[in-house]
């Protein structure tokens, strides 16, 4: 009885902290913070926390200020907003993409998905057409939809020809694993560093980068899970009653594997929050005017005596990571 109680208390603390962070991030513009985001208070530069203001009739900097006179508490609240805005969508999107690709790779393997020659042909034509359309008139995306519909209709009618009905296997597993190993051939931080140098620093850019480099992890997990699931008897019986591969995967196999992805989601999120703070600490990826926990920590690097600049963001980061991990352990033991 006792250990369960202890786990419940830890779980409650973790959930409470996460709710606090999320609500602070969502409500940041309406919170009664005495200083607006990124405002500079030149009267209080590098002020230690909890001290009364040196100039009367001004608000107190509860957690001190950094070397530019920016309020640390405000930076923490808005930093939570940035972490949420960047890491949460990236983690969600990476998990969805990873689940999709990983399940396809695990379920069909290298020979399970057979595509008839007609569709290979149509797909190839469509690809050439898409390249042509994008390179000549990028605004004519509706043409793309039209040609997709045309390809489906022509493909259906061509299926009547017996010779074209033969099918070739589509190497799903090899393609997905190849793409994943391509991304992992260079350490992720270095890859992001190199790619972030190519594009301009922006929020959507960093979101894309994080998604692009993070999807292999959920993909590997879901693939392994589906390799197990696809040999189970209920999948066999689904095949026996004549369901198509897509239907089995979507309706029957994926709900089983989705649990794995969901359990790993908090871990992905904490990894991405760590990565985002690291990047803003290095000054890569996010524009410098966007507040972030990493940026506040970078200010601590410049001013070694300002312990408050390192302590508070580090505590916030550690608490968030631990809370997310606690969620995962609870899910696993439950």
């Amino acid at each position: 009885m006792r250990p369960r109680k202890k786990g419940a208390a830890q779980h409650a603390i973790a959930v409470g902290w996460l709710v606090l962070i999320v609500s602070a991030a969502l409500l940041a513009p309406w919170l009664p913070l005495p200083f607006p985001a990124d405002s500079v208070d030149l009267n209080h530069i590098a002020q230690p926390p909890f001290l009364p203001p040196s100039v009367p009739d001004t608000s107190r900097h509860w957690l001190g200020t950094d070397g530019f006179g920016r309020d640390v508490l405000t930076a923490l609240v808005y930093g939570a907003r940035t972490a949420l805005l960047v890491s949460l969508p990236a983690a969600l999107f990476a998990t969805v993409v990873g689940t999709f690709l990983g399940s396809a790779a695990g379920f069909w393997g290298n020979s399970g998905l057979r595509i008839s020659i007609v569709y290979w042909l149509m797909g190839g034509l469509l690809l050439v057409g898409a390249v042509e359309i994008v390179s000549t008139a990028p605004s004519a995306w509706w043409l793309l939809l039209l040609s997709l519909a045309a390809a489906v209709i022509i493909g259906k009618s061509l299926m009547r020809v017996p010779m074209l009905r033969r099918s070739w296997p589509f190497p799903t597993d090899r393609l997905v694993l190849g793409a994943a190993s391509l991304l992992s051939s260079v350490p992720r931080l270095v890859l992001i560093l190199a790619l972030a140098a190519v594009q301009d620093a922006s929020l959507p850019g960093i979101f894309l980068l994080l998604t692009l480099t993070h999807w292999p992890e959920p993909a590997h997990l879901v693939r392994a899970e589906l390799l197990r699931v696809r040999t189970l008897p209920y999948i066999e019986s689904a095949r026996a009653i004549g369901l198509s591969g897509g239907q089995i995967l979507w309706r029957h196999a994926l709900p089983n594997a989705w649990r794995t992805a969901r359990t790993a989601f908090p871990l992905s999120l904490s990894a991405l929050i760590g990565l985002e703070t690291t990047l803003s600490f290095l000054g890569v990826g996010l524009p410098p005017e966007i507040p972030s926990w990493g940026r506040t920590l970078a200010a601590a690097r410049l001013d070694p005596t300002a312990w408050w600049l390192a302590l508070f963001p580090a505590l916030a980061l550690a608490a968030t990571t631990l809370a997310l991990r606690q969620l995962t352990t609870n899910k696993i033991s439950a």
């Binding site: 051939s185 260079v186 790619l195 140098a197 904490s270 600490f281 601590a300």
Partner: protein, 350 residues
């Protein structure tokens, strides 16, 4: 074994080539006007009055020196009023020339300093390689020692401590060490920066080693501390699992001590899952070196990459990515060799 390793290498080399080519092409897709203007103003500081023709000629010279002339890839697509025109350029393009030179070991010149990239990278590796390899060795040895200690009745709070460290990203750990142990206000035990400045080449070797240790303790400690938790926890779990097996019970029934059972019988089996982690250890440490070198101001590979990324110095960046990919290949080979040595069954399959 040779065939086994060769197979693994052949499988990873295409991925390396693809990712490096990808970064190269992306970097060339950027407009280079800023860069050329910068190089031009660097070149012609003395003579102010440049005619348009002279300026054009100087630009062309710089482009030629940096390998920026000609089309980027084998084919290109130009837009005109009649529509897109596809053009085939043959082997006379930037990518082909770069690849040909890169295979021969020439990675071009740095945009910033004009030095050959290989020289810049080599200079940086002199600092990074000792740091990362010693961190990798230390982390491996320490994880084995700590896991054995935990299995033989070590204190349980060690695990919780490791979990707590694991919750922090590397840069927070390094920053914490810096602010605690290299701070004149708290504990000025170690220097905060300055590696590679004081060491004179003619100093006696023990002085050189002690200065090196003095400057590299904190970076080393932060790298090891961050990598340690995952290694120890994995190894500890594997050891616990192995100690529950029948052969461990037999060994205990024979009268061996817990330590002997763990080291002589369980350790070898428990090492297998950890070796998979070791594959990623070396590249992960090199990536970690990015953060650590920025924080401790070490003139190494990682800081070079971070600066190259910040200043759009693409030849250095592409060279660095290539080097990292090669490091990963080395890590793979080392891990495969270790697999080979620990598990005879793999030897039979290969």
């Amino acid at each position: 074994m040779g065939r086994f390793l060769l197979y693994r290498l052949l499988r990873t080399i295409p991925a390396t080539w693809a990712i490096v080519s990808f970064v190269f092409l992306l970097s060339r897709a950027l407009p280079t006007n800023d860069l050329l203007g910068q190089a031009l103003s660097d070149d012609s500081v003395g003579n102010r009055g440049l005619t348009a023709a002279e300026r054009e000629a100087a630009l062309l010279r710089i482009q030629e020196r940096l390998g920026l002339t000609g089309p980027v890839f084998y084919f290109s697509c130009t837009h005109s009023t009649t529509g897109a025109v596809w053009q085939w350029h043959g082997s006379d393009n930037q990518y082909h020339k770069w690849l040909k030179k890169a295979v021969k070991g020439d990675l071009g010149q740095s945009y910033r300093s004009g030095q050959p990239v290989t020289a810049v990278l080599g200079e940086a590796l002199r600092f990074t390689l000792p740091l990362t390899t010693s961190a990798a060795l230390l982390a491996t040895v320490l994880s084995v020692v700590l896991a054995l200690w935990l299995v033989c009745g070590g204190p349980a709070f060690l695990l919780s401590m490791l979990y707590a460290i694991d919750a922090l990203p590397l840069f927070v750990v390094a920053l914490g060490l810096l602010l605690l142990l290299a701070n004149p206000d708290i504990l000025p035990l170690f220097p905060a920066y300055g590696m590679g400045q004081q060491t004179a080449d003619n100093a006696p070797w023990h002085v050189q080693i002690s200065t090196y240790l003095y400057y590299s303790t904190l970076p080393l400690a932060s790298l090891v501390l961050v990598k340690l938790p995952s290694l120890v926890v994995q190894l500890y779990d594997a050891l616990r699992h192995e100690l529950g097996a029948n052969y461990a019970t037999t060994a205990r029934a024979k009268g061996l001590s817990a330590y002997q059972v763990a080291t002589r019988h369980a350790l070898r089996n428990a090492l297998l899952p950890v070796i998979a982690l070791l594959t990623d250890l070396l590249p992960a440490l090199v990536a970690g070196a990015v953060v650590v070198e920025v924080i401790f101001a070490l003139p190494g590979m990682g800081r070079l990459m971070a600066e190259a990324a910040a200043t759009h110095d693409f030849p250095v960046l592409v060279g660095g990515v290539l080097l990292m990919a090669i490091m990963r290949l080395i890590g793979l080979v080392v891990a495969d060799t270790l697999y080979f040595l620990t598990d005879p069954r793999i030897r039979l399959q290969a």
